[in-house]
């Protein structure tokens, strides 16, 4: 296993995810090949056996997510990864994990869709990830890295948050972040106090209570009580775990907002705008669930113009609009995902200029 050091290494986003999973103590990986995330299972199939871990190339994404469910129920740190079509198949298992209060990390390297779509980058699975992609009304933690360094750091964070809040956590990126290589520092696993997993199935010894990991609630009021419990957990997440990055927002007349790959492209567009004398800033949510609503609300007290940019026809923009002050405008600019639709910094700069002029 490549050990954590402070020396920079040069790796793909997907490889950084795999390395971080190992550093986080994940020793069980279950997956199924799909572009553009296959570097993750390939890396772990090489590394896990030597670490006494388990790698299974499952029969399907359904098989993989249920292996994750089983391993996680024993208390093991476990992970699976996929992309659009495979993530759709995993939704059944994710719903069961959410219903069973099971931790577990799911990596989604988004590709264009619907259907088989294409292998180009996409942000059109924002809804699927953040609104409860399966049945029953639940949420999972969703982290959106925008660099290879964050692929590494947020994967480790996903394991910790997932364990602390007893719910699945997703690392949501796309083929830009997954396939690009950057210089990163492979940080050591953060020292976090984790709750003990007294709920795991382990073989009931004499005198110990029977542990059952289940999502079936038939008793009067049981299901409702479960939902209220989860609602308060989601609230706790919103109170304690929102993460975001702001760039040059303090004097901004226009705040661009974007996550993941498009936030990177926007950063250069914003630098171009600043050079051209425009007061433009960036608000980048890092946690998509919990969504940093209060941070948007605070920004919109002063700045009244937001430009939401996505590699989709508009999904996160709904959450932005629900978060900002009523008198703030949220303009949307997006491109549907697919070959050739990745916006350039020059293109986003044009959007900034057009809207900035309109507001000035």
């Amino acid at each position: 296993m490549p050990t954590a050091t402070l020396e920079k290494i040069f790796v793909k986003g997907n490889e950084a995810v795999a390395m971080a999973a190992l550093e986080a103590g994940c020793r069980c990986y279950f997956g199924y090949p799909i572009t553009p995330q296959s570097d993750i299972p390939e890396y772990l199939s090489r590394e896990l056996p030597g670490l006494g871990g388990e790698f299974i190339q499952a029969e399907s994404e359904i098989g993989a997510i249920n292996m994750l469910l089983g391993a996680s129920a024993t208390g093991a740190r476990a992970m699976t990864s996929s992309s659009g079509p495979g993530i759709s198949l995993k939704q059944e298992g994710i719903s069961y994990m959410a219903g069973s209060e099971l931790p577990g990390v799911i990596v989604d390297i988004m590709r264009a869709g619907p259907g088989l779509g294409g292998i180009d980058a996409s942000q059109a699975d924002y809804f699927q990830a953040t609104k409860g992609g399966g049945h029953g009304g639940y949420r999972i933690i969703v982290l959106a890295p925008a660099s290879v360094q964050e692929m590494y750091d947020l994967t480790m964070l996903a394991f910790d948050l997932s364990d602390i809040y007893r719910m699945p956590a997703m690392v949501l990126a796309d083929s830009v972040i997954g396939q690009m290589k950057e210089s990163v520092t492979p940080n050591p696993r953060p020292q976090v106090v984790l709750p003990s997993k007294e709920w795991v199935v382990r073989g009931r010894a004499d005198g110990e209570p029977q542990n059952v990991v289940k999502s079936l609630y038939l008793g009067d009021g049981e299901m409702e009580a479960f939902h209220w419990k989860m609602q308060s957990r989601y609230q706790e997440l919103a109170d304690k775990e929102c993460r975001w990055e702001e760039v040059c927002t303090s004097d901004a007349e226009l705040i661009v907002t974007a996550f993941g790959s498009t936030s990177r492209i926007a950063k250069t567009a914003i630098a171009m705008a600043r050079e051209a004398g425009m007061k433009v800033g960036l608000m980048r949510p890092i946690t998509l669930f919990p969504f940093p609503r209060k941070a948007y609300a605070a920004l919109s007290v002063r700045c009244k113009l937001f430009l939401d940019i996505e590699l989709s026809t508009g999904q996160m923009v709904d959450d932005v609009r629900l978060s900002v002050a009523r008198d703030a405008d949220v303009i949307f600019y997006g491109r549907p995902p697919g070959a050739g639709s990745l916006p350039t910094p020059e293109e986003l700069f044009e959007q900034i200029r057009k809207n900035y002029r309109a507001c000035a």
Binding site: K8, F10, V176, Q179, M180, K181, E182, S183, S261, R264, I265, A266, K267, T268, A269, A271, L342, P343, T344, P345, E346, E347
Partner: protein, 180 residues
């Protein structure tokens, strides 16, 4: 300072290795690097391209619409990408495979380097990407040639380290040709 360079050619010309090499060289100089590859479905013969951005600070967008420098290794890439080079930028062209006689690129410095020919003269046409890297550092001044030598050790697998001296020579020949 923030530098960006775009490499394009067909699969098999070593475009991605060239991008990796420049990335390692930039890391060697303590810079932050983003290397963004794109390629066709085919392993060989399809389109291959990559963008490398390196900077002392934030690398920003890994996607570049109008590159400061483009290094284009075949006709198809030239036809598609030459005109996208930023005004005041540089377009380094593999003149062994690209005919650009009738093309007008105002505001762009076009540098012709017969990369295949030079690589062949150096003993192996597969070193075309090394010739291209040499031409790039010569024209951009963005990286030290010593850093590229160091980068070769990182970018090439151990079993190919014996080829490093030949690759260094190919880079030097590329630099020389670009200087002329």
């Amino acid at each position: 300072m923030r530098y960006d360079v775009f490499f394009a050619g067909y699969g098999g010309q070593g475009v991605l290795l060239a991008g990796n090499l420049l990335s390692y060289a930039a890391i060697h100089e303590g810079k932050n690097v983003s290397f963004f590859p794109a390629y066709g479905v085919e392993k060989r013969g399809g389109a291959a391209m990559c963008t490398v951005v390196f900077a002392d600070g934030d690398t920003g967008s890994p996607v570049v619409g109008n590159p400061s420098v483009s290094v284009l290794l075949n006709q198809l890439s030239f036809d598609k990408y030459a005109a996208k080079v930023k005004q005041g930028g540089i377009c380094i062209v593999n003149s062994s495979l690209i005919n650009c006689d009738e093309v007008d690129l105002p505001g762009i410095e076009v540098v012709l380097v017969p990369m295949n020919q030079i690589a062949l003269e150096m003993g192996d046409v597969r070193m075309v990407n090394m010739v291209a890297c040499g031409a790039y550092i010569e024209k951009s001044g963005a990286l030290q040639s010593k850093s590229l030598e160091a980068a070769l050790k990182k970018a090439l697998p151990e079993r190919n380290h014996k080829l490093i001296p030949a690759n260094v020579k190919a880079m030097e020949a590329g630099a020389l040709a670009a200087r002329a």
